[in-house]
């Protein structure tokens, strides 16, 4: 049944740092000389892995190194990694925009790519003309575009402006039109780079819905997004890239967990279960943030059923008022809820004497297994005065409970594990 449609074998891509061209003339000559003697390109050997924080010793870096994976028909695969991990390069190689340095990739069926929204849009042409132009650039025949014209116009919601040059469109309208064209491509394999970052929330939702539909039709999608929530919803498998190398391939949840564990989000923040801060001369300041269970143990993994507390300490150097502490709890990169100490007890906003304060908040019992990150904010009159984004991190593991065939198993949809009471209010009368 499983039918591979993409196979990537030892795929590697090397770039030269700085300057222009693939190297200097002397490097070109050395390369040519090695080639003429039937030897390997001498610069293939010396490349470094692409860790952008470390200054390089060699002029050549590997943007991709030895990437291997296979994708079956109908799968939606998410490419995960920090900026510069090689996600876009991989999509570029697979869409034939640039060639690999080493290795091979095999593709079955028509490939459509959306590396950018509105590639080839021309401002002087009307909406209708641009739909045809853009559609054919993306690989459709004119006839196919004509057949889908009505759908595209409806999806983009630009019927009124169809005969107006695109230069008169608002930027949002241009984006909607461009995405509408791309979304109606019908390739067997669709490569999508971070394109959903544009457009308003409603339109993003519409796009995600459209992409979900596409995958149900048996098409294969390779997808890059920094929106981990949409990634989790759409994808069934993940490929995790780190500095151009493949760190993991497999189940999307595991891939996202590994990604977040590896330092996760792009700010490279060092999340852990306890952090304290050096004192500065602010009037009010967060001093210590920690997560622990009811025994006071700070761990990286908690089991389902354990009581989990977030402890926050802050210091006020003089009497203050209007101060609140807020937390944001995220599961696998998606924000679940916010909570603030003054939500219920509003009088906490009142005057506070100078001194050190310690607050504790218990996590609710309905958390589902996953990787949790907690952001802490020191609020002053409703505005964050200090923010510690994703400062705490822990894994909630439910392997201590039996989740077989249970509706709250981690691979089932849904983000909460509420304990709900079911009552049968009527039973059939025995016959």
């Amino acid at each position: 049944m499983a039918k591979p449609v993409i196979k990537v074998e030892n795929l590697s891509k090397q770039y030269r740092l700085g300057g222009y061209g693939s190297g200097t003339l002397t490097d070109d000559l050395k390369r040519w000389w090695a080639n003429a003697r039937g030897k390997e390109d001498p610069f293939i050997i010396i490349g470094e892995s692409n860790d952008r924080s470390v200054a390089s010793e060699s002029q050549y870096v590997w943007s991709l190194r030895d990437i291997n994976f296979e994708v079956q028909q109908g799968e939606v695969v998410g490419l995960i990694g920090k900026n510069g991990a090689g996600k876009s390069t991989l999509l570029k190689v697979l869409s034939k925009v640039t060639g690999p340095t080493l290795g091979k990739a095999y593709l079955k069926g028509r490939v459509g790519s959306m590396l950018e929204v509105g590639t080839g849009f021309h401002p002087e042409l009307t909406g209708r003309e641009n739909i045809f132009l853009n559609g054919t650039i993306l690989g459709m025949r004119k006839k196919e575009v004509a057949k889908k014209l009505d759908d595209i116009v409806e999806f983009a919601g630009v019927a009124r402006y169809l005969e107006t040059p695109v230069k008169r469109y608002s930027s949002g309208m241009t984006v909607r039109l461009a995405f509408a064209v791309a979304a109606h491509l019908e390739p067997e394999i669709l490569l999508v780079d971070e394109v959903l970052a544009v457009g308003d929330a409603e339109f993003q939702k519409k796009c995600l819905g459209k992409m979900g539909e596409v995958s149900k039709e048996g098409r294969t999608i390779l997808f890059v997004s920094h929106n981990l929530g949409s990634m989790r919803r759409l994808c069934n498998r993940g490929v995790l890239l780190q500095n151009g190398e493949m760190a993991y391939v497999g189940n999307i949840d595991t891939a996202l967990e590994k990604y977040l564990n590896s330092g996760g989000t792009d700010d490279d923040g060092d999340a852990s279960n306890s952090v304290s801060f050096d004192l500065n001369d602010s009037m009010v300041q967060l001093t210590e943030i920690a997560v622990e269970n009811s025994q006071g143990e700070g761990k990286s993994t908690y089991y389902y059923g354990e009581k989990i507390y977030v402890n926050i300490k802050y210091v006020a150097r003089q009497d203050t008022r209007n101060i609140g502490i807020r937390i944001a709890v995220s599961r696998n990169g998606e924000t679940l809820f916010l909570s603030q100490d003054t939500d219920i007890e509003e009088e906490l906003l009142g005057k506070k004497a100078a001194g050190e304060y310690a607050v504790r908040v218990a996590m609710p019992g309905f958390l589902k297994s996953g990787l949790y990150t907690i952001s802490v904010y020191l609020m002053e009159v409703g505005v964050p005065k200090e923010e510690k984004i994703d400062i705490l991190k822990f894994v909630l593991d439910d392997s201590n409970t039996d989740t077989t065939n249970k509706s709250f198993a981690s691979d089932k949809p849904g983000i909460l594990r509420p304990h709900l009471t079911w009552e049968y209010v009527e039973f059939p009368v025995p016959v």
């Binding site: 061209g21 095999y106 593709l107 590639t119 042409l125 132009l133």
Partner: protein, 300 residues
């Protein structure tokens, strides 16, 4: 001929080989050297048409005179040439009315020069779109050729109008030769010549940009060493005439003049060598272009 035949056989063979296999596309660092990818171009013919339409629309929109500009440019050049070369310098025009002589040369020269100039920057002009999506890359330069061909058609109409004027009102005796029937071939040759050279230049300039400087003034210089644009081939001194006749564009324009105006030089040697040179330029251009296309994004 045999070489072309065997080349096509190997092409068909390699196509069949891919079909037998499970995968439709195989991406690898190396590609076979001989790869024209003309099938891919044929499959994207819709795009070729849309690109051409886009560029025409771009030219006309928000101009008053629109396509009239295409008349003015060769007309003004012809008038200047007629005054300067025909009048002041009193250069020979093979007995053809100078107006017709210069206009015929201009119409072909402008087509060739425009194709060459514009295709020689294909990669630079299209880098933003080439960097984001793959389609048959040859479509971009081919749409330049089509566009220039449309202008050529308009300018040829201008030539025909003036040509008829001379016959009907000036009573200029003009003898048609059968070579006039070669006109479609001449038009194709001119386009392919410019395209072939343009493709080679744009491929070389992705890495080393120096050539672009050469192209801008080189094309102008080329006009002076192409007999038949400003002066007829028959005026070239006999020791250089053979060499000058091998210039593929000279053979084209001389054949045109011989066919339509009854004067000029037509020889199978010159014409045949022009056809061969053009085909070689075109094939070499496409091969180098296809080879460059694969990785040009990394170097431009």
């Amino acid at each position: 001929m045999a070489a072309i035949l065997s080349f096509y056989q190997s092409l068909i063979h390699s196509l069949n080989k891919v079909k037998d296999q499970y995968w439709d596309t195989i991406l690898s660092p190396t590609r076979p050297f001989f790869q024209l990818k003309l099938g891919e171009v044929w499959n994207s013919r819709d795009l070729l048409w849309l690109f051409t339409k886009r560029d025409i629309a771009q030219l006309y929109k928000q101009t008053i005179l629109g396509p009239l500009w295409f008349f003015l440019q060769p007309l003004l050049t012809t008038i200047v040439f007629t005054v300067v070369f025909g009048g002041i310098a009193a250069m020979s025009t093979d007995g053809i009315p100078p107006m017709l002589f210069y206009l015929a040369g201009q119409v072909f020269w402008v087509h060739f020069a425009e194709v060459l100039n514009k295709t020689s920057t294909t990669f630079r002009d299209n880098q933003s779109i080439f960097g984001k999506v793959y389609f048959a890359r040859l479509i971009a330069p081919l749409s330049v050729v089509l566009n220039s061909l449309i202008k050529f058609g308009i300018q040829l109409t201008l030539f025909v109008i003036i040509y008829l004027y001379f016959i009907l009102f000036e009573g200029t005796p003009i003898q048609l030769h059968w070579q006039a029937a070669l006109l479609p071939v001449l038009i194709i040759l001119t386009g392919l010549m410019g395209l072939g050279m343009g493709l080679i230049i744009t491929s070389l300039t992705t890495k080393y940009r120096d050539l672009t400087f050469l192209v801008t003034f080189g094309v102008q210089l080329l006009m002076f060493i192409t007999p038949s644009v400003i002066y007829p081939l028959s005026e070239v001194s006999p020791e250089y005439r053979f060499l000058a006749g091998l210039n593929p564009l000279t053979a084209v324009i001389e054949t045109f003049k011989y066919g339509f105006l009854g004067e000029g030089t037509f020889s199978w040697l010159y014409f045949g060598s022009s056809v061969v040179t053009t085909l070689v330029l075109f094939l070499a251009g496409v091969l180098i272009f296809n080879k460059t296309e694969k990785n040009f994004m990394d170097v431009i």
